[in-house]
């Protein structure tokens, strides 16, 4: 199964770089089991980035009401409107990108898993994450590496349905 790990974010806006830092933590670690890429935007770019893969793990920062910084949520494309980058204002959203890629007969992944890392601060200019987010980056990298290799691994992510606070 051809797999890609895609870290999304902006590394000059504090926790907005979380996805990219997770991708960097995995670079050179997965051998031939998966490719690792980082990107600043999603939208139409997703078609080119995901083309040719059977499975994709996408990591991005997220800001859900009432959640603790550093919480990690495991989502499917249907949930993506919760991450600003994947529901881009400047471009098409992820569901549309996947559908468009398939319509244009590109090989788009059948399995897409999105990890959203709850950010504390995505507005302050800074080239590192806040402490709470920094702590979970290696743990989430371990979880993704374990899932790809099939080895036992600690799981930090939870599904959206397991949220303690729905933000309602």
């Amino acid at each position: 199964m051809k797999t890609i790990v895609l870290g999304l974010g902006n590394t000059i806006l504090s926790d907005d770089g979380a996805g990219i830092y997770v991708a960097r933590a995995l670079m050179g670690r997965l051998g031939g089991a998966a490719d690792v890429r980082e990107a600043e935007l999603a939208g139409l770019d997703l078609i080119e980035m995901l083309n040719g893969y059977d499975r994709a793990f996408i990591v991005d920062a997220i800001q859900l009401d009432g959640e603790e910084p550093g919480a990690v949520f495991r989502m499917r494309p249907d949930d993506i409107r919760t991450t600003p980058r994947l529901a881009s204002f400047h471009d098409i959203d992820m569901i549309t990108a996947l559908a468009l890629g398939r319509r244009l007969q590109f090989h788009m992944p059948e399995e897409v898993v999105i990890f959203g890392v709850q950010a504390e601060d995505t507005l302050t200019l800074g080239e590192q994450c806040t402490e709470a987010v920094k702590r979970v980056i290696p743990i989430l990298a371990d979880e993704i590496a374990g899932e790809i290799s099939g080895a036992p691994h600690r799981k930090i992510s939870i599904g959206l349905s397991e949220r303690r606070n729905t933000g309602a």
Binding site: A39, E48, F89, H90, I92, L104, Q105
Partner: protein
């Protein structure tokens, strides 16, 4: 790019010629990518699928169903190439950390230059293809042509754009020129002079300001000759200039104005046509720049030696004239900043265009259909697909509501998404 020019000015640095050419080369690729997403993904479905088609069909998937898979793949491919070119030059396609006071961080490698040279003709072909598509699908369709030439999308203001020394459209560097609704030049300024020429009006209901021409004074939301409002976007650039600096774009520019019977053009839907011509211009200019041997010059930065203080940078962003103004302390730490971004220039015109479209398409006593929402939204999308989308609330709802009132001011019908 505007911030790069502004910090050059803050540090009083004159950048090497190769650095200026590299910035412009990068920027041409950026324009192609940005305009391609704007037109094909976000605006073309209005025309190609139809302005009153159901929303489920009026999107990029509906567009592909109409124009075919091969064309859809070509759009994705050429947009991807423009992103690759930006990455080759700036290290990253988006958010490059590459512009520095005095130039750029790195020279262009010969092998990257050769790759860009191979990509370039395809981009010009893509620019020509877009205009042919517009010709075949939009201009040859009477209903769409009527929409463009009709008065539903029309606004008479002044027009602003950056021009070169021959008054031709330029994106990276030049002089800001403003023409009145008759096309007569009424203002012209360099970057450092912008505060003498543009002012920003404030209304209590929004944090977005309303720029206007300072010497004419704020006159409210008024169009027509004498207004102090101006537009700054692809069509405004064309109205404010005397032509294009590349041959194929110039021919397309002349054809566009001939279709409308001369300059300036106040029909707002021409903005999309101008946008496609700008893709062609950017591609042709990219060909010129990449063929210039100086682009390989390793001298791409001067280390500034002056004490930083204050600077202004102006470029043409895809959505309009973009101004960055920074004031710093002696360490270069910003103490004051002002930005007039592309769409902000058009804040008042957008408000007026939306109102005019609503008044036109609602009509006296007429039936109000769901498609009306899109016809009104199209007036906004002409200028900026992001801003209109940015009014969505997560998770993905569009809070657009139109209230139809009778002559007594009573709401007789509400249409919303």
């Amino acid at each position: 790019m505007a911030s790069g020019k502004a910090v050059d000015a803050v540090y009083k640095a004159k950048i090497p010629a190769a650095a200026a050419k590299l910035r412009e080369l990068y920027y041409m690729a950026h324009f192609i990518h940005s305009h391609t997403a704007h037109f094909y993904a976000l605006a073309a479905p209005d025309f190609v699928v139809g302005p009153d088609a159901p929303p489920a069909e009026r999107n990029i998937l509906g567009l592909v169903n109409k124009v075919g898979i091969d064309i859809g793949r070509e759009v994705i491919r050429q947009r991807e190439i423009s992103q690759i070119i930006q990455q080759m030059i700036g290290g990253r396609a988006t958010h490059p950390v590459w512009n520095l006071p005095g130039g750029v961080t790195r020279a262009l490698a010969r092998e990257d230059r050769d790759s860009i040279k191979k990509f370039a003709p395809g981009l010009v072909g893509f620019g020509e293809f877009g205009l042919k598509l517009f010709d075949d699908i939009v201009l040859k369709n009477k209903a769409y042509l009527d929409l463009i030439l009709g008065d539903g999308y029309e606004l008479v203001t002044n027009y602003m754009g950056l021009v070169d020394d021959k008054n031709r459209v330029t994106f990276y560097d030049g002089t800001v020129r403003v023409v009145d609704p008759d096309g007569k030049e009424i203002d012209r300024y360099r970057e450092s002079e912008y505060l003498d020429h543009v002012a920003e009006h404030v209304e209590p209901y929004t944090y977005l300001k309303f720029p206007y021409l300072k010497k004419l004074g704020w006159q409210g939301f008024k169009e027509g000759k004498g207004t102090s409002l101006y537009q700054a976007a692809p069509l405004a650039r064309f109205n404010a200039a005397d032509g294009m600096a590349t041959p194929k774009a110039q021919a397309a520019y002349e054809k566009m104005f001939a279709t409308f019977g001369g300059k300036p053009v106040h029909k707002l839907m021409a903005m999309h046509w101008a946008r496609l011509i700008e893709i062609l211009y950017a591609a042709e200019r990219l060909v010129e720049l990449v063929a210039d041997e100086e682009i390989l010059d390793p001298n791409v930065r001067v280390i500034p030696s002056a004490t930083p203080s204050e600077g202004v940078g102006i470029i043409e962003a895809p959505r309009g004239t973009l101004t960055h103004h920074y004031v710093t302390d002696a360490r270069g730490i910003v103490t004051k900043a002002n930005l007039i971004v592309g769409t902000t220039n058009n804040n008042a015109p957008i408000s007026m265009a939306v109102k005019k479209a609503a008044m036109k398409f609602i009509g006296k006593g007429g039936e109000v259909k769901e498609g009306l929402l899109n016809m009104v939204e199209m007036a906004f999308r002409i200028y900026d697909p992001c801003f209109s989308c940015a009014t969505h609330s997560l998770p993905g709802h569009m809070p657009l509501t139109i209230e139809i009132k009778n002559a007594s001011g009573e709401t007789v019908r509400t249409v919303s998404r």
